[in-house]
Symmetry: C2
Subunit: 519 residues, 2 copies
């Protein structure tokens, strides 16, 4: 028997919160361990493990609470948008291979913007036509457009867990970059749909939408870059490293998060902002801190992002058994399945409709054969599944049926597409055992840079006009490489002098040389 004074020991904490946190943390540990043990398994990955563990615990919770209490499963979108999403996106920006990313920037924008719009139109149209056939008639045009906007956003979190940045760098940077741009586009589309007056759609509305997107894209990017540069400047000027590694790391974390919050405050796209903040921080700030801080930031950002991802998939699994949602929808099993299958089909068609044509378009405009996007890659990219659980919460005002269907969609796509991607990539790689894309392009670029470098040194002593002509023609023929070359010159001459960066930081005696893992 416990002594009586203990009974009120946790009076300051609600038991529900403690129980929920205990369950979630224990499950997270289990996910990591089981995910590690299944590492070698070709069909499984960490997302699927988390999702299945979540499903199992959902069933257990349901049985323990006898089908009525779902309090442990409460999860609001604040948690997702304030605490889980920012570290994932920031870490993505921080760890992305910047050279690869910017080289494919045009392709990424094509996929991200044009693709999302195509997908949005197709899904909305399809939903409009097919739902009335199934027997759902209580949705108006706004709802259909909202469904299109929500489902046209792809989530790259799960796909990137399967893809490797080192093995398939080109595919990785395309899929990843598209995911980020895509997200911004779909937010703009969703908000536009919510606020548009459909009685007066004309050319000006479309132009306005385009203007909004450009405004959103540029300001968000500028904010992220600004905050990143500010952090670099502060750390370089004050040089915190002399005193404390912890302060540097704390400042980097806080400023990254601050950029996201400021963007949200100004109604910009926080995702774009924190992504670019991560890129700038890894390019400048990261080189200004001590060696310990470098290791710490690199791994702790990755760890936090990893925990957040695992939590999301775990939660999606548990959420599927939130019995209230199923009760509220009141639809028959047949209707649910029909709606879900329709949505899955629409999403796949929507993806296919833009991935294949755009990939071909992108290939046509490229002159170099080696960077040709392979058909297999497209087929794979098309399998980027949708993870909409968070956005489905927004739609809760629309119809509960849509939520339950989205849950089915998420579960199906994660498990099915998640497990076939690994074997698929292997199959594709075996067939194309020619030198990998990244190697050949890297050599190509190195040769080009060498040529340009020589070109410049000759010109500076002899003939300035010839140089300018040459640069211009080069810009026309190899736009990305040339832009990159001039950016590097500008970066070395001005930016790195002010904000620090690799090679522009005084070496601390006794410290190790900088790790070159993040480039």
């Amino acid at each position: 028997m416990l002594p009586s004074p203990l009974d009120s020991s946790t009076s300051y904490l609600s038991t529900t919160t403690v129980v929920a946190l205990c369950v979630f943390f224990a499950l997270l540990c289990a996910c990591i361990i089981v995910g590690h043990l299944l590492e070698e398994n070709r069909w499984a990955n960490e997302s699927i493990t988390s999702l299945l563990l979540g499903l199992c615990s959902g069933v257990v919770v349901l049985l323990v609470t006898k089908f009525h209490s779902t309090e442990i499963l409460i999860f609001n979108e604040d948690l997702f948008f304030l605490y889980l999403l920012p570290p994932i996106i920031f870490n993505a920006g921080f760890q992305v291979k910047k050279k690869q990313f910017f080289r494919n920037f045009t392709t990424i924008l094509l996929f991200g913007v044009l693709g999302t719009v195509i997908s949005f139109c197709l899904i909305s149209l399809g939903a409009f036509l097919l739902f009335s056939a199934i027997g759902i008639t209580n949705l108006d045009i706004k709802d259909h457009l909202a469904i299109g906007a929500i489902l046209s956003a792809t989530d790259s979190v799960c796909t990137l867990q399967v893809l490797s940045q080192d093995e398939t760098p080109f595919l990785y940077s395309i899929v990843f970059g598209e995911g980020v741009v895509n997200d911004a586009t779909s937010i703009v589309l969703f908000n536009s749909v919510q606020s548009l007056d459909f009685s007066s759609i004309n050319a000006i509305t479309v132009l306005k939408l385009l203007g909004t997107f450009l405004y959103l894209f540029c300001t968000s990017t500028a904010l992220g870059i600004g905050v990143g540069l500010l952090s670099a400047y502060i750390i370089k000027t004050l040089y915190f490293g002399r005193h404390s590694t912890d302060r540097e790391v704390a400042l980097m974390m806080l400023m990254a998060y601050l950029s996201y919050m400021i963007a949200e405050l100004l109604n910009l796209s926080g995702i774009l902002t924190i992504f670019f903040c991560g890129i700038v921080m890894s390019h400048y700030t990261w080189h200004n801190v001590t060696e310990s801080s470098r290791t710490t930031t690199k791994h702790s950002f990755a760890t936090i992002s990893f925990i957040a991802e695992t939590f999301i998939f775990l939660y999606v699994g548990m959420d599927a058994f939130d019995i209230d949602k199923w009760k509220r929808s009141k639809a028959s099993i047949g209707t649910s399945v029909a709606v879900s299958s329709t949505l899955i089909a629409l999403v796949l068609i929507g993806r296919a409709a833009f991935v294949f044509p755009i990939a071909n378009l992108a290939n046509c405009t490229k002159t170099r054969d080696s960077t040709k996007i392979e058909f297999r890659s497209q087929a794979f990219d098309q399998r980027c599944f949708q993870m909409q659980f968070s956005k489905s919460e927004i739609a809760s005002a629309e119809d509960s049926l849509m939520i339950t269907s989205t849950i089915i969609l998420v579960l199906f796509s994660t498990v099915v597409f998640g497990s076939i991607t690994k074997p698929l990539i292997k199959a594709v790689k075996l067939r194309n055992s020619k030198p990998s894309i990244s190697d050949s392009t890297d050599i190509h670029e190195d040769l080009r840079l060498l040529f340009l470098e020589n070109n410049c040194s000759i010109n500076q002593s002899n003939n300035q006009t010839y140089h300018r002509q040459s640069s211009l023609s080069l810009l026309m023929r190899y736009p990305t490489t040339t832009v990159h070359y001039f950016w590097r010159k500008f970066d070395d001459k001005f930016m790195r002098r002010i904000f620090g960066g690799r090679g522009f930081v005084p070496v601390v005696p006794g410290s190790l040389p900088a790790e070159e893992d993040i480039s």
Copy 2:
């Protein structure tokens, strides 16, 4: 003019939350930068900076919202107990110098348990006698005892920011250890006060209380050690390092937090549990992970703890201007000041009443002159100020006047005592320029260990009885050293073989030798 579709861009986040987070994160950044700039200033430290910045921003918020909206200042105890306290205590356990800590364990327990009880009795009695003199009569005996329990807990967070583990190791380990034990004692006292029936106090009640404390102390410690060992075993067995640093770090973080939540779930002292979990993790788990994980965990735990501390002080400052609390108390300024001064006086008397006698007692029982606790150290220790803002929330049911008085108490003690500790320590150190305590004891201990080692080797070959006699007599004469010696033998023979630890982990080819910073 912003295009219309942007207006509802953050529909999924409440503006209040975003604004509050923006303000807090910006202020945190400011605290770190200003604290860094004032590093050389002898009167200031990070806590005071944060507190003053918090006060200033409290005023600004009050002026901006025109004295009625205090929504930005809402802070519940859940945030403190679930998210801010655990990392601080865990990091303390993780970074504490274990040798110092366990060598002074008896002294720490004396200070922590006996001292808190003495302080509790004195403050309760004083409050009972003085408050009626001031004119506050609406408190019953339970309220007075609650005040005593709340104010007898000292907070070591601020003091430890000023003390240095390397310069004054003895003082640091005493102050720190006392803070942890003290906290557990005061929680037991507070809960006992809440649940006791005061109509029938007798010897059995007191014994019951003592039993409760012992039960709480032992189970909490055992739980913390258990979870710590489990984490070491899992990481050693599965050897995560081969695959991913992030998984190791994630698992350590999650399991540490899990130990705290389980303790809270079982109505134990989460603080004690996570503290011992930190100690065990730094002794075993930390040595089982990769080199990168070691650097990452060491610095990221310290960073998280640092941010949490800064946030707490910042919040205490802002909270002082929560106008609702002041309005609710309805007391005149005179009464407020009187109550606050009474409380400050009582707290100081309560501390003095146990610090000086116990320090003398501890000195008397020690045979070695070199470890004599100096009078100056006591006088300084006595200045460990109280930070009770979180627990004052519990008391909110009692009386708003008590809360406002506690706020004054916290502000006064932090600013006044916080600024005089640094110069005080300097003055004490200048006067005692003889070799520092830690040096002499370390040499002493090394000699002893050497003697024991020789002793053993001789005995093992010649005479086992003599050895046992000698060990016993040694145990009587030098209990701590002998216990430590046998613990080390046991640790090397059994524990480290199972759970890993320094020297018992297979060296990964190409990795650097383990850092020895945490010992």
